[in-house]
Structure formats: structure tokens, C-alpha cells
């Protein structure tokens, strides 16, 4: 097998648990969308063009209640922006590694960058010092098609899985991201970053309306890293 095939396959294997975990959520999104009055091809269009599970959930939840006034439309788009603010941090973090990848796969990856394929790309970059076009596409293409497929299925067969919790499928994402954080922590001892993110994300989740908590926790972690390096610099300057 060529190197490209190898890395593509590696990416596909690595993303598979999360593709399975995403399936029931795709079904729910599709079923909710069809209840909200969207045609199947509109659901396919939304999942393909937006490709952001959490944002689609929130949007479709608002869809039925807003009656699609101009204000309702703007609040749906505003909520989408809010949930996806974390992408700004994520894109910045992977930019140095993406520059080593050819233009087309680079742009494709950025367009479909989600928590899952980004986290795996950063994990690979962290342990190897680089990522490859094959790996990025091997993760992203199956994961993208998977999401569109299951959200379409949701509009056709409804939500056959009553509750993804019954199968522990909701916990797949928690387990994967927790596992990756532990990996990062083992290597870098970013204790202060993790603690700041835990405290701020949980506080904001409880205290602030709207999906601010992921972005707030992410920024808090970066600020913690900045404070840590300032304190270290000051110590080094004294000695």
C-alpha cells in the first residue's frame, strides 16, 4: 500500500468510534428537522453545508418556536455563531501543522473541521510533530459522509433509537475527548490550563445563558498558559 493509502486508512480507523457515536445524534437531528417542516433534501443541504452537530441541534430546536420571522432567523444564525466560536481557537491551534499540507486537502479539512477530527489531528501533530493530507482526509471524509447519511436517515425513519444514552453512545465523545486530554496532560503537564478550563466552563455553563461555556473555557485555558509563562519568565529574569 502506498503511504497515502496507509495514512488515509489510519485516519478512517481512528475516527470510526466517533462516527458510530455520531450516528444516533444524526438520527435525532434528522427527525427533529423533519418535525420542524424541513424537506429531506433541505436536511441534507444543512448537514452538508453547516456540518456542525451542536449548532444544528440548537437551530432546529429554535426553528419550531421562532416561526421564522426575521428576528427568529437572525437569532438562529447568532446562536450558530456563538456555539462555533471555539473553531477560532481550534483553527489557530492547527494552522502551523496545516501549512505543511497541500492547499486542497487543507481547505477541505478546515471547511469540515469539527471537534472530533480536529482533536485527532492535534493528537497526531502532538505526538509526531506533523499531520498528513491522507490522515486528515481519511478522518474527515468518512465522518462528513456519515453525518449527512444519518441525519438524512433520521428524516426518513425517524428517531429509531429512543435515547442514545441507552447504549452509552452519548458517552463516546466524553470518553474520547477525556482520553485525548489525559494524553496531552501526560506529555505536557498542562495542569493549570486544564484546571482553569474546568472551573470556567462549568461556571459559565451554569451561570450564563446560551452556549458560551466551551469558548469561555477554551479562552480561560489559554489565559492560564499565558499567566504561567509570564510567571516563569519573571522567575528566570530574577535568577
Amino acid at each position: 500500500m502506498s503511504n497515502l493509502q496507509n495514512t488515509f486508512l489510519r485516519g478512517w480507523i481512528d475516527i470510526t468510534p466517533m462516527a458510530i457515536g455520531a450516528a444516533p445524534f444524526g438520527l435525532i437531528v434528522g427527525a427533529t428537522a423533519s418535525q420542524a417542516g424541513l424537506e429531506p433534501w433541505e436536511i441534507i443541504f444543512m448537514s452538508a453545508a453547516v456540518f456542525a452537530g451542536a449548532a444544528q441541534f440548537i437551530a432546529l430546536d429554535m426553528w419550531q418556536s421562532t416561526m421564522l420571522s426575521v428576528f427568529g432567523a437572525l437569532s438562529i444564525i447568532g446562536s450558530t455563531l456563538l456555539v462555533n466560536l471555539r473553531h477560532i481557537l481550534m483553527g489557530a491551534a492547527c494552522a502551523p501543522y496545516l501549512n505543511q499540507v497541500p492547499l486542497l486537502p487543507r481547505l477541505l479539512f478546515i471547511y469540515v473541521m469539527a471537534d472530533e477530527n480536529w482533536a485527532l489531528a492535534m493528537k497526531q501533530a502532538h505526538s509526531h510533530g506533523y499531520t498528513t493530507a491522507g490522515y486528515l482526509m481519511g478522518m474527515s471524509i468518512p465522518f462528513y459522509v456519515n453525518w449527512i447519511f444519518w441525519s438524512y436517515m433520521g428524516s426518513q425513519i425517524g428517531n429509531i433509537i429512543e435515547d442514545p444514552r441507552d447504549y452509552g453512545l452519548d458517552f463516546v465523545f466524553t470518553a474520547v475527548f477525556t482520553g485525548i486530554v489525559v494524553g496531552f496532560w501526560r506529555a505536557d503537564r498542562q495542569t493549570l490550563v486544564v484546571v482553569a478550563s474546568v472551573v470556567v466552563s462549568i461556571s459559565v455553563y451554569h451561570l450564563v445563558d446560551g452556549a458560551w461555556y466551551i469558548f469561555a473555557g477554551g479562552v480561560a485555558g489559554v489565559v492560564a498558559a499565558w499567566l504561567r509563562s509570564r510567571i516563569q519568565n519573571r522567575r528566570e529574569n530574577k535568577t
Binding site: H87, V182, V193, G217
Partner: protein, 110 residues
């Protein structure tokens, strides 16, 4: 109602749905490309690299921490199992162990 703002007030309106979907797609793509454009191909000094290396643990922690805390004892224990397994074994083992323990614990505790 039909004569005033006809298409936009109808929830089943295709035009309204498409405008909203295009708007969602636009702001989402904007957030995805913004971070990349911001950093771009600049030569990064050590301080910036240090800040960027904090992003993966910071963002991923912010996704999972509220999800775990707002869960039940089953999620809390399963999260600890995941952390312990990830500490010692591969991520895949940690995922399998975490999901398995949440299923078992939910069944036992319900």
C-alpha cells in the same frame, strides 16, 4: 398573514429555510477559517506557540467537563475509569472501558 412578509413567516417556506441554512453555513465557515487566517503562515515566537499548545487541552476540557459534572454518579465514575485507563493504556482502551462502564453503571443505578 400571507400578504405581509409572506414567505418569511411561513415555517414551511423553502426560501426562508434556505436563507437561514446559508447564513448558518456562512458564520460556521467564518469561525473555521478565522483562526487559520489569524495564525496563517506567520513565523511564531515561543510565547505564541506556548499559547497555541494550550488550546487542545483547554477546548476539549471545556467540552467534557460540564457534560460530566451535570451527569449522574454513573457518568462521574465512568469518567474516572476513562481517565485511569487513558493514563495507563491506549485511547481506544479508554473509550471502550469508559463506554462499557457507563452502560453497566446506568443499568445498575436506574
Amino acid at each position: 398573514m400571507d400578504t405581509v412578509l409572506p414567505t418569511f413567516l411561513d415555517p414551511a417556506s423553502t426560501v426562508a429555510a434556505w436563507i437561514i441554512i446559508v447564513g448558518m453555513a456562512f458564520v460556521t465557515a467564518l469561525t473555521r477559517f478565522a483562526g487559520y487566517w489569524l495564525v496563517g503562515k506567520k513565523e511564531l515566537n515561543a510565547d505564541i506557540k506556548n499559547l497555541l499548545s494550550a488550546v487542545p487541552p483547554a477546548v476539549l476540557t471545556a467540552i467534557v467537563a460540564p457534560a460530566i459534572v451535570t451527569g449522574t454518579i454513573a457518568e462521574w465514575v465512568a469518567a474516572l475509569v476513562t481517565i485511569a485507563l487513558a493514563w495507563r493504556f491506549s485511547t481506544l482502551t479508554a473509550i471502550a472501558g469508559g463506554v462499557l462502564s457507563v452502560v453497566v453503571l446506568r443499568a445498575l443505578l436506574s
